[in-house]
């Protein structure tokens, strides 16, 4: 009777280890960013979601999806405006880096995928992507951008943006559950 339990525990251990391994690799490969690089990632992340919203506005006919896309454009534009004003005040010039380049490369692929879809299939793909994208951005802000930021005002702005990102995620999950099933 003991052997099956050992087998089960071993299997669970292997599964957990295999799940944790990519996370550890990812954490170790995360570069340390300067404030100029943090600013670049923050601006890129906001611009990417605005570009997804542009596609939604061009392709969707669902009023709730369209209203969500308008909100994304308006909110992320407001964040970019405040980030731009702050980096100007601080004399920081956003600097491209591995993280911002990876975000932009992934976004190009996602935009291609979204542009290939239409109708309800597009609506579902757009909202599903908004859920996963906001989860990824929230994680990046919490675990990479905020810890790596030296300037107190830039760090505060990133902390202030988090509730908006979480509200966007909650809104997208509402649509995912009730509108684009």
């Amino acid at each position: 009777m003991k052997n099956p339990n050992y087998v089960s525990l071993s299997c669970i251990g292997i599964i957990l280890a295999s799940l944790a391994f990519p996370l550890l690799v990812n954490a170790q490969s995360n570069p340390s960013l300067s404030d100029a690089e943090v600013a670049s990632v923050a601006v890129a992340a906001n611009q990417i979601d605005m570009s997804y919203a542009d596609i939604a506005e061009a392709k969707s006919k669902n009023t709730k999806v369209l209203k969500f896309a308008q909100t994304m454009k308006r909110d992320h534009a407001a964040v970019i405006e405040q980030a731009s004003a702050l980096v100007k005040k601080l004399g920081v010039t956003p600097k491209d880096n591995a993280v911002s380049k990876k975000l932009l490369a992934d976004a190009a692929q996602t935009k291609k995928t979204l542009n290939d879809k239409s109708g309800k299939v597009f609506d579902k793909a757009y909202i599903d992507n908004e859920v996963s994208y906001h989860k990824a951005v929230i994680n990046t802000v919490q675990t990479l951008l905020i810890p790596d930021t030296d300037n107190a005002e830039l760090k505060q702005l990133l902390q202030n943006v988090l509730p908006a990102l979480k509200a966007h995620l909650g809104h997208a999950e509402m649509l995912q559950k009730n509108v684009v099933q």
Binding site: R74, D75, V79, P163, A164, K166, A167, H171
Partner: protein, 119 residues
Amino acid sequence: MKGFSYRWYGYIFLELIIFLALFNAPGTRKRGKDLSAPRVYTVEISGMKFNPAALVVHQGDKVMFVNHDLVVHDVTEAAKKSWTSSPLGVGKSWSLNVQQSAVYYCSIHPVMRGSITVK
């Protein structure tokens, strides 16, 4: 004795003036009225939340919503959309004259909700 009487009447007259001044002074009247006057409550919008999210008020009280957040919000009655503010830009405010209890939300960010209860 006659002089004393005039002085006595003078004191009474003075006391009358003081009494009338105390009980009819504008400030005194205002304080008396304020006990039953409508109150003004403030709900601050910040961090994608209404703060406080739950208010208990009397009918006729006012609730002023002030947007101190990073982005535009609105305040909309949830059940029948019977009242709504226009979109409130950053730093803008809007007041509601409360007539009945209501659950409200931000129609731009539907995860933001609050309530007003009339007691």
